[in-house]
Amino acid sequence: MVVHSFYIFNKSCQCIHSQRWQHYQQPAKDLSEEEEQKLIFGVVFSLRGLVRKIAGNDDEHFQTFKTSQYKLHIHETASNLKFILITDRDSPNLTKYLELIYAGPYNSAVVRNPLVNMTDERVTNENLRKGVEYIVKSIK
């Protein structure tokens, strides 16, 4: 199983944390990191509206979607934070691990950290980075 990248988006559509894992050499992308984050948020946001309409229920969430190349997993918290993991297409549903990241590293390194400004800043916290790394490595 291959994990490509991990993102956290806050409720005002900003990417507050991202991590990438490069597994092999490949040509650079034709869009910048910031543009890519905007596209990812856009896709997730639109799909969220779509599944709510189809299910006719405002609490409906989608967990994963996949294409021929990758699979995107999402866990959305009650405070509208979005935890997103992108892996290879054959991996099982990993939303449980995203919940773990929220309950573990995010909670202890960001929520309980009085120095973090929760409004709109990027989280540059080494402990969060290490915690995510640890949980992602534990995925079998």
Binding site: Q26, V43, S46, L47, G49, L50, V51, K53, I54, E60
Partner: protein, 143 residues
Amino acid sequence: MSFPIVHSLWILNKAGGLVYLRSFSDQLPGLNTNEQLVLAGTLHGVHAICSRISPITTSKSSGMQLLESDSFDLTVFLTRTGTKFVLITTPGHPASQALLNRVYEIYADTVMKNPFHIPEMPIRNEMFDTALDGFLRPPDFMT
């Protein structure tokens, strides 16, 4: 897991317009025509953007193929000509992709071979309807 049921089938033309919609169960709420068209358009756009955010740059990614949600799965099958077949099923349906391939076969046999059908326009074809009923509608005792 519940008994696998097909909730509905959508067919989108290559411009993202909804040309066919059929419901096979009443477990999901019905949508009015306007909502249906808007959702089809959204799906068309998202499907295209999905291939842009692929983490792998050595080969091109397809659009979205399967969306897993709390109460349903949405499977998309894109044909060579850009027509999209979308199937909404119960979560974890084991054969949604195979069903879509069969729907495509029936579509080719009934809709495309009909000399009065105008490509990219809404599909009104009784043969297509009855053929789909035959294998997508769940048996009465199951619903």
